[in-house]
Amino acid sequence: MVNLTPLDAFVRLAWLLGAVAFVIGLSRMNSPATARNGNLVSAGGMVLAIGATAVYLLFRPSTGSFNVVGWLIILAGIAVGGGYGLYSARTVKMTAMPQLVSLFNAVGGGAAALIAIDEYLRHAGTVPGLQENVATVLDIAIGAVTFTGSLIASGKLMGLRITPSRAVKIPGGQLVTLVLAAVVIAGSAFLFLGNYNAAVMAGILIAALIFGITLALPIGGADMPVVISLLNSFTGTAVAMAGFVLNNPVLIIAGALVGASGAILTKLMADAMNRSILNIMLGGFGGGDSATAAVAGVGGSVREVSLDDAAIQLAYASSVIVVPGYGLAVAQAQHGVRELAEVLEAKGVDVKYAIHPVAGRMPGHMNVLLAEANVPYPQLREMDDINPEFDRCDVALVIGANDVTNPAARKPGSPVSGMPILDVDHAKNIIVMKRSMGRGYAGIDNELYTNPKTGMLFKDAKAGLAELVAAVKAL
């Protein structure tokens, strides 16, 4: 056993407590009632771990003179980064949440990569042991991919002109990917054979940075939840690798927790779209083989419903399920939908919300948007939970959702085939509020719209909901 000084023991215990707080914090996320407290526990663990590290670095013996510049750097960095973090976190709109989370993810990965770069340069000339070498290369490569990938994802979500939110085809994209992968693999192999070479490491870094861009750029809007989750998982892994580089257990534990969390969410999101992660990475819908075969067979006429008829159907229903999609958030109509629900509830109607896992731009995004509009969370129901209830529901009101309601997903031969959908067509009556007959992300017609039970209400979500509220009140 190694004998620890009291100071060593103190910092290690503080790190352990920090790690425990992270696990408790995450486990308290299993219910909305305890989640906020869980986040505070996790934050407390973070403050403890960071504070103890500062104490340790200040008072540890045998490191020579006090590094004034180093401490100034720490204070300045915390002031700049923390200040901007506080400002952006307080001012961000809930619709803009995915791009902010993506930005935080980018800088986390970036920080992990920077640590490994600094460590590598510090030991210039000395060949690190194989384990350290592997950890360093992985940290730099994964951290760099996350950094640029998350920045691009964030830019796409913001709708910046250089990073359009649609899927961007990179000419020769797969060739570029192969070349980049070859650079990383060849470079790593060279280093692992026992060489120290900063130029090779720089090559790996640059290839990884470019790879992050080519990874995120071709991803279309509705696939974003998958990519954001995946990048989140990458950052966790990069931080764990930084832990291996620095021999730091709390970095390893925290990174592993986040890596696992991101991986689970990635899987859930990909399953919710019935697409493999690889398929999503390789490009948007329509690139596949059978994409065009399915559209045939959808025809039939569409029935329009008047505003007053829709209001009467809703007001005299005993149960209504609202199906919100991203179109609702784009139209900023979350408050309108909550108002409509309140007016209906005042008339004794039971109102619930059916939330598809990929209804927003990141996992669970729609829930946050509706929670912000003061919708009580017990009314927000998950797909598997609510689907049986469509059979008993009088009216399903679809607002801004398309592909996730398309019954074509139950049959083979369509781009959405096999994707789990909300069983909206099982409801007794269906009202679809939509601006026009435009298609969804998958670019196919929605059979729901030609269902005889469906009435189309061609309105903008925000204005249409306001009119519906007024019409229901007038009854």
Partner: protein, 111 residues
């Protein structure tokens, strides 16, 4: 000052054991989180990897040349942005999840 920034040392097998067990612990804990909370979960997990600030501080106090100064400043600033922004925004989101609306307007049912 050329102190080795690796504050602790541990054998690689031990480090790897910790890594694998922490992944399993993460899977066990996170599988129980309902879809309603997936955005705060991701944002909260995001804040947790801000722990990389510990690493950034460790390299900053060992920095002794301009390149290291720049690298460690960026690392500290990035990690701080990650930590502070992550926790604050997660808290902001979670405080919106209420059982009942904050200002209940009418609860009376007529129909």
């Amino acid at each position: 000052m050329n102190g080795d920034p690796a504050v602790t040392s541990m054998p690689i097998d031990l480090a790897f054991t910790i890594f694998v067990l922490a992944i399993m612990c993460g899977v066990a804990v996170i599988s129980k989180v309902p879809a309603t909370l997936h955005t705060p979960l991701m944002s909260g997990a995001n804040s947790i990897h801000g722990i990389v600030l510990v690493g950034a501080m460790i390299i900053a106090v060992a920095a002794d040349n301009p390149v290291s100064y720049v690298l460690s400043f960026l690392a500290v600033a990035f990690a701080s942005l990650n930590v502070v922004g992550g926790y604050v925004v997660t808290d902001r989101m979670l405080q919106m999840f209420r059982r009942k609306p904050a200002a209940p307007k009418t609860d009376k049912a007529e129909g």
